[in-house]
């Protein structure tokens, strides 16, 4: 029997994330890490090229996360959302650190 959990885990919708770092800095448990860089957007020959953020990796350490949802609430771009799937156990602490592909996986039941 499947037990519905409103707060099973958090999913990342990567193309909405702007690497603004708000979730990382709001997290009370320091469980989110973002790798990012900046790239030139538009005409690179312009006198003052525009620069935008590019997300390289997004990691949540589920061993530290207390499922408070502050990151979900704080994100101005709705790039983080609750999903009902629980986090599966891992055989090491490092296995609970999920990177961007794992966080973006919305294939399971309860996905958004």
């Amino acid at each position: 029997m499947r037990v519905a959990r409103a707060h099973g885990s958090i999913v990342l919708i990567g193309d909405r994330c702007t690497s603004c770092m708000i979730c990382v800095r709001e997290c009370p448990n320091w469980c989110i890490e973002i790798d990012s860089h900046q790239e030139v957007i538009g005409d690179p020959t312009s006198r003052r090229p525009r620069v935008g953020n590019v997300l390289d990796d997004f990691r949540i350490d589920w061993g530290l996360c207390m499922f408070c949802g502050i990151c979900v609430d704080a994100c101005p771009f709705e790039a983080l959302a609750w999903r009902t799937d629980p986090i599966l156990p891992a055989d090491s602490a490092l296995g609970l650190v999920h990177d961007m592909p794992m966080l973006a996986d919305r294939s399971g039941p309860g996905g958004t």
Binding site: S19, M21, V24, R25, E26, C27, P28, W30, I32, E33, I34, D35, S36, H37, Q38, E39, V40, P49, V51, N53, V54
Partner: protein, 201 residues
């Protein structure tokens, strides 16, 4: 705390023992808890204790609870009840006192409430409060040296061992060829959550 309608009393540390003696005389004989809160900005540690009137029997009206001395009933004013287990109202009283962080001493309540033995040991271990008259303030968990762990000025090792991930910023990795010269102070330095200022000193 939700649903808590206990009478709240704030007293000076010198009045601590007498206040709780009065509560016991008023029938508040059930020791609920004793703990502390650190207020480093005020340079104070707050100690709080909660006592209740035991409810004996389901049908007993609240006026005839055991431990109440009839002649003293009412001398402490009307006390609001709080929800009990089966919808009844329990009388309770929460007593607070503020101690100077330089003088963390308080009289022990163990002569009045046996239940305070464990709680005062815990509060001594976690906040460094010395309860005079307690028969044995042995640590419950840690032992050994070190400042009391629940004082906010005690560094949390896990916070010192790890770099705060919020220090990273996309602007640290600008595109090649694009040199930006940010004005001094233009990028706000984010405040690190969960780290007390005194840890960094």
């Amino acid at each position: 705390m939700p649903g808590d309608a206990s009478q709240i009393v704030r007293v000076e540390p010198e009045e601590w023992l007498a206040t709780l003696g009065d509560a016991l005389d008023a029938g508040l004989a059930m020791f609920d808890f004793l703990t502390a809160v650190d207020w480093p900005d005020r340079d104070q540690v707050e100690v709080v204790v909660h006592v209740l009137a035991p409810r004996v029997g389901r049908l007993e009206p609240p006026e005839t609870q055991l431990g109440t001395r009839p002649q003293e009933r009412g001398s402490h004013g009307a006390e609001q009840g709080e929800p009990g287990l089966n919808g009844s109202r329990l009388r309770g009283r929460r007593v607070h006192t503020m101690l100077s962080r330089q003088d963390l001493r308080l009289q022990s309540l163990t002569g009045l409430f046996r239940g305070a033995l464990w709680h005062e040991r815990e509060t001594h271990e976690m906040f460094g409060v010395n309860f005079s008259g307690h028969p044995g303030l042995r640590p419950l968990l840690r032992g050994g040296p070190g400042t009391p762990p629940l004082l906010r000025t005690t560094p949390l090792a896990a916070r010192l061992a790890v770099r705060w991930p919020g220090l990273a910023d996309p602007a640290d990795n600008p595109p090649p060829g694009v040199t930006r010269s940010p004005r001094p102070g233009s990028r706000a330095v984010p405040k690190v959550p969960g780290v007390h200022v005194q840890w960094e000193a």
